[in-house]
Amino acid sequence: MMFSEAFLRYLVFGGMGLTALAIVLFIVFFLRDLKEETLW
């Protein structure tokens, strides 16, 4: 039994999407912490 092409597609798109989301959320968290003076 082999992993299907669709599975590979979901994996790659999911991985790239999650990485992009991580970048956006890190920037959002940073700006929020900066605004609320809670960076550290």
């Binding site: 790659v12 890190f26 912490d33 550290w40």
Partner: protein, 487 residues
């Protein structure tokens, strides 16, 4: 000297090396200005927010292995290889509830050694310190060596120079700014790594077609797409358990739990796990595209940079160079800071001074310690031992044996001192036996299983119940050893 991949001209390679080194030292100095006292230097004032807290965990856990070994796993073990590497993020997810508990139980704690000493007493503490220091030193030296080797392979910079520049860059800014410098630079390094990996993946994705990638792999190496691939499935369990052991016991992760603002520990580690999870998949996909892009033959250990350089040319090589530099620096700085904290607070403050030492003196010793550990690591890296990775795997069963004493010690009042001591001793012994008799892939599993049985049996047979409030009595300075034996 020509670089091995021929994508970077020597002038650019040297410029990048010294440019990046200067940038991180300057930024470390900038962030480190806030370190005014011992808590500031060692734990960034215990007030780190969500952005910096999650980022420092992600950056530390993205090592050169993540950016280079993950593609190798993909090219050797296929889709299971990508998934196997992803399991390392489970350690971050599972540490989230532990971080919450650690913050609640030990508002004045400083190291993982503090917990073991207060929870299980001096004997367990000394065994734990031996295991933890061995692991920290092997990880630090392996990262230093990886830095030198990668600078040589990626940019043609001689091993000793590349290794020395990366190591001394991290020593410099960690020495100047302590945990503030480490966490501040970690945030920027996380963004650089995530953006770099994503940009390379997008360009590789545009240069080929996923259908073609799938067809090439299924034609050239069908085993990589098999659902039942025994070696890869075993790698899943080994990676998972080794990762759990590494994170649960190491002061690198405990010091961050203490540094993050109270109430944010769970969130920071949960987000870190989520954000770390896709990196091996994205890096693995880049490697899987090699066949469809006609990149043959290749070395599995540099397949990621090779694909990036082929698709993006000089730009791709520069991106990968920066990503690799950041991924190594972000781990070395954290290891330097956390290991120095453990040595100063537990070995010097606890074992030598028996708690009778001022914060001011501890602060001075912490800086000396960073310098000594850094120089020691540099000396150990000079001979260029080729098989240090196997030494790191050797630490797998040792750290695996600490998982259950840590978990049960934090959550189960019946967990005992004897269970923890024998769990670590028997787990390590049986795990090392498995390492030599069966293979590296079974060592962590055996070490963790034996430790679990020992700890659980000892706790079940015991009628003693530990009062968790005792963990909150830790003063700012180390307590004398005689107060530690409470379990």
């Amino acid at each position: 000297m020509e670089n091995a991949l021929s994508f970077l001209p020597p002038s650019l390679s040297w410029g990048l090396l010294f440019g990046l080194a200067t940038i991180w030292v300057v930024l470390g100095f900038f962030f480190g200005r806030k370190a005014k006292n011992l808590e500031g230097f060692m734990l960034a004032g215990r007030n780190v927010g969500l952005a910096f807290g999650a980022a420092t965990a992600v950056a530390t856990w993205i090592t050169s292995n993540t950016t280079l070994l993950a593609p190798q796993f993909a090219i050797q073990m296929g889709i299971w290889g990508m998934l196997a590497y992803c399991t390392a993020s489970i350690g971050l997810f599972l540490f989230a509830p532990l971080a919450k508990r650690i913050q609640a139980l030990m508002p004045h704690g400083m190291t993982s050694g503090d917990f073991v000493r207060l929870r299980y007493g001096p004997t367990a503490w000394k065994i734990f310190l031996l295991i933890s220091s061995f692991y920290a030193v092997t990880w630090l030296v392996s990262m230093g060596m990886a830095g030198g080797l990668l600078m040589e392979v990626l940019a043609g910079i001689p091993y000793k120079i590349g290794m020395s520049v990366i190591l001394f860059t991290c020593i410099a800014y960690t020495l100047i700014g302590g945990m503030y410098a480490v966490i501040g630079t970690d945030f920027l390094q996380t963004l650089v790594i995530l953006i770099g990996v994503l940009v390379v993946a997008i360009f590789v994705f545009s240069a080929t077609d996923l259908h073609v990638v799938y067809e090439s792999v299924s034609t050239e190496r069908p085993a990589l797409l098999k659902v039942l691939f025994p070696a890869a499935i075993m790698a899943v369990f080994n990676n998972l358990l080794f990762g759990l052991g590494e994170i649960f016991h190491s002061n690198v992760w405990w010091s961050r739990a203490f540094a993050i603002r109270k109430g944010l520990g769970f969130k920071a580690y949960a987000f870190a796990g989520l954000f770390w999870l896709p990196i091996p998949i994205v890096a693995g996909f880049v490697a899987l595209s090699a066949d469809s892009l006609g990149i043959m033959p290749y070395r599995p250990d540099i397949i990621g940079p090779l694909v990036a350089g082929t698709v993006l040319g000089k730009t791709g090589a520069v991106l990968i160079y920066i990503v690799v530099f950041c991924s190594i620096a972000s781990s070395i700085d954290s290891l330097l800071a956390a290991t120095s904290d453990l040595v100063v607070k537990d070995f010097v403050g606890g074992l030598i001074y028996k708690g009778n030492i001022s914060d001011e003196k501890l602060g001075k010793l912490a800086k000396i310690c960073i310098l000594v550990i850094g120089l020691g690591a540099w000396l150990a890296c000079l001979p260029r031992i080729a098989d240090l990775a196997s030494v790191l795997f050797f630490a797998g069963p040792l750290v695996g044996s600490t998982v259950w004493p840590i978990i049960t010690g934090l959550f189960w009042p019946k967990a005992t001192k004897a269970g923890a001591i024998w769990g670590m001793v028997l787990g390590s012994t049986c795990g090392l036996w498995a390492y030599f008799s069966i293979g590296w892939f079974a060592a962590s599993l055996v070490g963790t299983a034996v430790s679990m049985i020992t700890v659980v049996v000892a706790a079940t047979l015991s009628s003693h119940k530990f009062d968790f409030k005792l963990l909150d009595e830790l003063p700012a300075r180390p307590t004398p050893l005689t107060q530690g034996d409470r379990a």
